[in-house]
Each structure stands twice: as C-alpha cells, then as structure tokens.
Symmetry: C2
C-alpha cells in the first residue's frame, strides 16, 4: 500500500510516465559517453545547506563534470524503509527536482523498493549519470607533468562538518552550511578557458587529502601544496577542532581540484572566480617529479608534512 | 576497514579501475539511447536457480531488451550491511560477472557504501542500464490494434515460487528453479523475425496479470487470454496451492510477453522457440477493441474472469 502511495509521488515530481521501463532518449550529441553511479546513505537525511536529494543529484552531476562530461541524464532508485514519513519523501523529491533544474540534468528513469521496518535506515538513494564528453576533451591523471599547477575551487570541509554537526546535535551561529551544489557550469567555464587542463576531480569522501593522494598515486608524480593557500572557513576550522577532525580529510560536495599547465594556471583561476561555484578559486600548489606517488603539505609554520590516505573512513555515511 | 576490503574485491571481478569516477565509453552505435534503473532487495539473497547478483544483471538486461534496445553498459551500486560475509559478497560478484558475460553487457562503473549493522539487510544492489535502440525499432503500447496477438515466451511463476519457497524453508524434489536469465538474445531474434512487434514487456513484480493489465491500461484496449494456453509447471502449480498464491500474479525474471500483428504471430512464436529463453513460446491470446483497459481470462472450465491489479505487492522483496 505504501508502495502505491509512493509511486504516485514520483511521476509528477520528475515528469516521467513509467517508473519501471526504460526511458528512450535522443543520442544527438557527438562525443564519447560518460557513465557514473553512486549510492547515497547520508545520515541524517537533512542537514544545514542540503539533504540527501540535493546530494544525490549534485554528486551525480559532479562525477560527470570532473570527467569532462556535460551531464545530460540521470536515474534515481529509492530504497525506502516501511513507515518512512511521506512528508520527508516529498521534501527530498522536491529538492531533487530543484537541484536537477539548477544543474540542467534530466531525471529520466526511477525505481522504488520498500523494505520492512528495521531493514533499511529511512531512505537510501542510488543514482546513475550519463553525459557526453566532447571531442578534444581528454582528462586523465596520466597527462600530469612536473611543473603543472594545482587549482582548488573553494574552501574545504564544509559538507562533512555540516553533516557531522547535525548528526551530533551541535548547532553553530552562524550555521555551518554544506557546500553541496552542482559543478557543471564551473567545469564548462574551465574547459572553455583553456585546453591545458590535465584532469579534474571532486574531493568528496576522504576530503582533499585523499583526492590529492589518489592523483599522486595514479599519475606516479609528487603533489606539493601549501597549507596557507587552502581555505578553511573559520567556523569549519573551529568545528573541526571541537570534533577532533582534520579538515583536509573532510568530505566536500561543491568544490573541485584541477591540475593545469603552469602557463594557464592564473588565467584558469581567474575564469573560475567568475562563476558562482568557483568564487574562491586559488592555486594551492604544483606537481613535482618526485618523490613519486606522494603528497607533501608545506605547513604554515614552515614544515613539510607527508599526506597519506586514512585506512578507514574518518566519517562514515557522509554521503 | 570493511570498506577497503570490499573495494579490493570489485576491480578484479569487473575489470574496472576506478569505482568512483565516471567510465568513459565509445558512442559509436547509431540510434536512440535507452536508460533504465532498478534496485534489488530480494530476500533471501540466494535462491534455487539464482541469486541477487544474477537477478540484478538479468533484470537490467531485460528492461532494456523489452524496450527494443541492445544492452551495452550497466552500473552497479552496492549498499552493504556491516558484517555481511565477504564469502557471500564474492559469490554474488562472481555471479554478476558470469551473468554479464552470458548477456554480453559490460559493467562499467560501480560504487559501494557500507552502513552499520541493523541499518540494511545484508546487501542491496542498484543498477542502471544503458542500451541503443536501432533505427526503425519503435515499441509502444500505443501501437497496439484490435486483432493483434499476445505471445508469451515461457511458463509463469518460476521465479517468485523459488524465492518464496526458499524464504519459507520449503524445498521441493525436484527443486523449483527461478527462471532468472537474460532475454536479449531472444528479443534480438524476435526483432529480426518481424517488423510488426508492437511492444514487449517482461512480467516481473506483479506477474503476468499485472503486466497485461498495465498494457491494457496504457493502450486503452482489451486483452483476452486463454488460461489453458498459459503454461504453469506442475511443481509451481502445486507450490502455489500450498502457499495460497495465484501464479498469474507471481514474479518472473526470464520471460517476456509480446504483442504482435496477427499475421506474424505464428511465425514469431516459431522463431522464439529456436532460442533457449523462448523454447516454450506460445500464443496466449489477442487484443480486442473493448471493453477498454480490461484484461479478460477465458478459464479452462469455459468461464470468463476479469483480471485486475492487486492493490499491494502479493510478494514483497521478490526482486
């Protein structure tokens, strides 16, 4: 019965007629296809600055965007615990619709499954995203060269701290908001500004530190970044001290890091600053030949810290 | 920690290098794009004839196939309860790989999320599928005309009964096996045999009755089927009597129903019989002008029964 009620909610929100069939869409954009998927199990479902619905749409858009793809279509699968409040479901769906409109992506197919009380945790959302990579766009860590610059589009730690604070019942004044938002307009502006972007990535789970370490590992190069160039908002810094967290490892959902030819770095950061999502863009470091597969942080006090991956998740269920 | 262990399992099974990035694939097949998604929450995860992994791959392949699309790529997102046995996970992944190879679909992107014990039920899998619909293929219930024939590719109720028996700890001798399997080879053979297939659909949740009722509702026509033409294996019939279930409403995962021009029905059923999945194909009825949006079953004893949808799920968590 709940199942039927829920199905009635979806079609009007997303404008899709059938939840279980395939959607048939045009394939009139030249270029390779980018495909991505993610499951969202964030707890709590609503947090300052966003909710699981906005997170699911923006996360999908951003995975495509940092691959150099223009996001076109996405799917959404919902696993719902029996008894989940329909009002909350409606809020999540409205939020997804608004985020999809903001990003210009179409939600073309959906599915719902209801499981017994105690067999899930309210609501899980899984998405898949489809986009097109235009001719000439080829982003890969293998293209990174020594001397390239590292550009970061905004301040770090905002999403993870907002979720952790909400989970622990802590509130700040002014409130610390998640940065969850779509990056496709920013990425498009960047790809239009220079042909010399080597790669982009959004530092979500594991934060900026984990993303930089992945880039170093995949490229075999050394990434050197300056601590004092990496923006952390004062409230986020204070909350991290309170919660015992390192902002470098905190999840972000509205920023990206790009590696670009040194000659284009300043111009790229300038172009990024002209967009809403990239207003705080800054060059934070560069690529060195070695030591390979290593990330070095030049600290504010003049030391050097080796940045490693955490062995587990610092923050579970952050997205 | 479990998260890291799990990630180590995925890449070798699927041959994908990155779990969180977009996969970039060729777009060299002309035609419109079909996109589908489904979540799998079947309980139990392993049942006679299949498991959640085979179900997830075949369900995705089949949703695309009955839309007239050639399945090309799929994604898989895993929500895993902390403590889920890694041996079971390995079994499921091996099963997915085998099913993907059987169907000729590539699993190009994946994601894993681990939630605390008690916040999920072992394992949920969400998939999205991506295929290409060739020029000239246009399947839709709106194309159905009075006089068209209804063709069914196999016997009904096998999947649902296999899962329900396993869930209730009942075993049969010989065992009743789920029919879970890929339908793309069958669908391709059908589309090659005649241009006059109006539509196809796979009768999964809600069974053949629900699917026929959906077709009647969407087309506005009347579907008349003969009970004695619809195959139900004796073991399935017996199990349904034992469990108090109507095989017409039991989920299937390896059959499809097609509506075809009357002149081509016999030839189509003949072509279907030449494939493994369609060996039991048979014409089970026809389309009438009215009463509209209605399904009528001519019973074996000479009566007529109106077939309606069930108000809820007869069998929860069957897929």
């Amino acid at each position: 019965m709940m199942h039927d009620l829920i199905r009635g909610y979806f079609a009007p929100v997303f404008g899709i007629e059938q939840l279980n069939d395939s959607a048939i869409v045009a394939n009139d954009r030249p270029g390779r296809i980018a495909i991505t998927t993610d499951s969202y199990v964030v707890s709590p479902l609503f947090f300052p600055g966003g909710d699981i619905g906005r997170l699911a749409v923006c996360g999908t858009v951003n995975d495509l965007s940092v691959s150099g793809a223009e996001p076109l279509y996405m799917t959404a699968g919902f696993i719902i615990e029996e008894g989940f409040p329909l009002g909350d479901l409606k809020r999540v769906l409205d939020s997804m619709r608004a985020a999809a409109e903001e990003a210009g992506i179409r939600i073309v197919a959906g599915d719902t499954k209801v499981v017994d009380r105690g067999k899930a945790d309210g609501l899980f959302i899984n998405t898949a995203g489809f986009g097109v990579v235009e001719e000439g766009v080829d982003l890969s860590p293998l293209r990174i060269r020594p001397g390239d610059r590292v550009v970061l589009s905004g301040s770090i730690g905002n999403h993870g701290v907002a979720v952790m604070a909400e989970r622990n019942g802590i509130s700040f004044d002014p409130p610390l908001l998640s940065d969850v938002g779509p990056l496709n307009a920013l990425a498009r502006r960047m790809l239009g500004a220079t042909k010399n972007i080597r790669m982009m990535r959004d530092p979500t789970r594991g934060g900026l530190a984990t993303t930089l370490k992945e880039i170093a590992a995949e490229s075999g190069k050394c990434i050197v970044v300056r601590e004092d160039a990496i923006r952390v908002r004062p409230g986020v810094r204070g909350a991290c001290e309170l919660l015992g967290l390192d902002p470098l490892y905190i999840a972000n959902e509205g920023i990206l890091v790009a590696i670009v030819d040194a000659a284009d770095a300043t111009a790229l950061a300038g172009a990024m600053k002209e967009t809403g999502a990239g207003a705080e863009s800054v060059v934070i470091g560069e690529v060195a030949e070695g030591p390979g597969k290593t990330v070095l942080l030049k600290t504010s006090v003049g030391g050097i810290r080796i940045i490693d991956m955490l062995s587990g998740d610092q923050l579970p269920r952050i997205c």
